[in-house]
Amino acid sequence: MPDLLAEEMATELDSDLAEAQADGVSATEILGESDPRRFAANWAGERGLVSEPRPPKRRRRIWLWIVVALFLVLFATWLALQAVGSGSATSGPSVEVTPPRRVSVPNVIGMKACRAVRTVAHSGVDDWRVIGHQHGYTCDLVVVGQSPAGHVIRRDGQPVIVRLRLGRS
């Protein structure tokens, strides 16, 4: 509190209380307060020397709102990160979540070996084998048999593997 104002308050009260005492009026009646601290706090508050303290409940409530807001922000950030993560996972070119339930096995009987293998490899089957030619084969051989035969088949949880038997035309 500035000294000048304190001095002014003290002088004013001193004179008034002396006069009140002469009239037989008690100090409490004049000040309206029996607690000097409370009186000083009121006086300083009304003079604008100190800001009035906020009720503690209100302060607690503000903190509660801050905590709730922080939690919501963190939760929203977590959700956003989850969405970005799952988005990048599904857009990746190498991940095939589930293979098609149906696959069309081409009929390559009578086809030259190399062309038949290419055709089968690009048909969507899971794998292929050339039977009876473990040490390699030449493209002039032809397919004389295949299993399964050329048709649309349904996957039953097992990989679709095409076996080709080669021979001379």
Binding site: E12, A20, I30, G45, R47
Partner: protein
């Protein structure tokens, strides 16, 4: 217990209009603090309770509703005199109008109630 509650209610009601009462006692003639208390007593307001006039005078001065000056006193230090400023007079007129409206409305509601004293 009941008396304390009654005094508390009186004090709360008075707090809303005590500034008007202070302006009213200095609107015609300046007065220093204790003299204002004396004028309030003369007009029937004997105790101001928790709402001491001194903090309130500080607010009125800060808001420019009262003007102050110092005058020499008999034998003591100069005394601080308060008088209603032009804006204080306007505030007093508006406040009195608002008080009469509220008083009338509350009286209308409470008029039919008979106060019972146990």
């Amino acid at each position: 217990m009941r008396r304390m509650a009654s005094e508390s209610r009186r004090s709360q009601m008075l707090r809303g209009v005590l500034d008007l009462c202070l302006l009213a006692v200095v609107v015609d003639e300046p007065a220093y603090g204790y003299e204002m208390t004396r004028r309030l007593r003369e007009r029937g307001l004997s105790t101001v309770g928790e709402g001491s006039i001194y903090p309130l005078l500080g607010r009125l001065e800060r808001e420019g509703l009262v003007a102050t000056h110092r005058e020499a006193s008999d034998g003591g230090p100069p005394r601080k005199y308060y008088s209603a400023s032009p804006s204080g007079r306007r505030a007093l007129a508006e406040g009195v109008r608002a008080w009469r409206d509220v008083r009338g409305e509350v009286d209308s509601v409470l008029a039919t109630i008979e106060a019972e004293v146990a």
